[in-house]
Symmetry: none
Amino acid sequence: MLLQFDFKSSVPLYMQLRNQIVNGIAAGELKFGEKLPSVRGLAEESGINAMTVSKAYQLLRQEGYIVTDRRRGAQVCWEKGATEAAEDTVQNLRLCISELRLSGMSREEVLKICSSLYEEGKA
Amino acid sequence: MLLQFDFKSSVPLYMQLRNQIVNGIAAGELKFGEKLPSVRGLAEESGINAMTVSKAYQLLRQEGYIVTDRRRGAQVCWEKGATEAAEDTVQNLRLCISELRLSGMSREEVLKICSSLYEEGKA
Amino acid sequence: MLLQFDFKSSVPLYMQLRNQIVNGIAAGELKFGEKLPSVRGLAEESGINAMTVSKAYQLLRQEGYIVTDRRRGAQVCWEKGATEAAEDTVQNLRLCISELRLSGMSREEVLKICSSLYEEGKA
Amino acid sequence: MLLQFDFKSSVPLYMQLRNQIVNGIAAGELKFGEKLPSVRGLAEESGINAMTVSKAYQLLRQEGYIVTDRRRGAQVCWEKGATEAAEDTVQNLRLCISELRLSGMSREEVLKICSSLYEEGKA
DNA sequence: GTGGTCTAGACCACC
DNA sequence: GTGGTCTAGACCACG
């Protein structure tokens, strides 16, 4: 899985990392039980600070997307249906759809995009 | 249109205001050409600072959702199809859908939510 | 001479009016000695406030571009070489040229634009 | 690079700062990739408020003249040919040239000034 | 240490 | 009365 960071973005680096991992899990690039890179390893190869990686991992653990074991490091382990944050997600989703709608997209176009995003990486 | 703010949220107040107005426009609560409250007026009734409101209005104007006429104040005036932000919006949408998928939702459930969000306030 | 106003602009209306008249004089659309519309007349046909027009005329008079006579109203009457503001103008010009340069224009392209702007309306 | 502010000018301080930086980049005093002073640092040494400096930086970033990297602060980074503003700039240029023309300058004199402004600091 | 955010209060330009 | 600008001082998120 290829990680990319936009250092000019207003989105904090740790959040960019968290988002990429969540997307990676949803897309099937990161399988259940798969071992994630070590904090230091990921930090070095990405050119970001180890504290930043650690913060992202901590957040992912709190959200239930990964578990961390002292011996094995971090592993993908989301409990289906257990992740919350549903409220924030729906709020965020509402905003995205409002923006797309105001940019002139029809309901069908929006649903088509949503559908393709859901299917992304399924194969 | 009722405005609500979460002062404990990590989302800046000016962005919360901006988001509510964008949602309001998309939902049809704010009609094209409708006059928005004055900066000071909105600030007073919402209990937030005038500069914060001003910042939200500036952002909305820059994004093309409103215009400010020196004579009439701020008005809703999005040019359909003219607002950009498509790239960021899709990125954000991808993340929302990833999160919903990992929470256990099927493709149909996600599309149903998206559809209802699109239709919100249409009547 | 056709007057146009951008009510959404950050440039004040009185300054927009002043600028259009200065451009009009330079372009030869407004001849030396030509009578300008009355304050109230111009205000009515343009849809702006009479005070705003008055302010523009006052500024033009101060700058030496027009004279106002109680009986004849306002007349175009710049004294060649007498208008000052040269310092501000050059400062402003420097900024324009910096911006054009940074937008990728060559010296020749910039000079070509300047030349054509100078010649504008000469015929 | 020496910064100077006219506290009595009608041009806002943040715009004066923005203009000086644009001129500095065009004149080659600020090289591509060069690090700009921190918001607070510049504010202190210039005697203006940090928020005012911040506003100027935000504007410059939005216009594409600088980028702010969370790790390194603000850096000069205009993408040649990417900055827009062409429309406003030409409008402004037209006005400058009208004023110079009415002050009695010939086409050659105006072009000579424009040319020297373009070459400024080239060596 | 950096920039981003927010507040309270003030002044001014514009219309 | 409107929005725009500026200040001083504070807190926080980020890296």
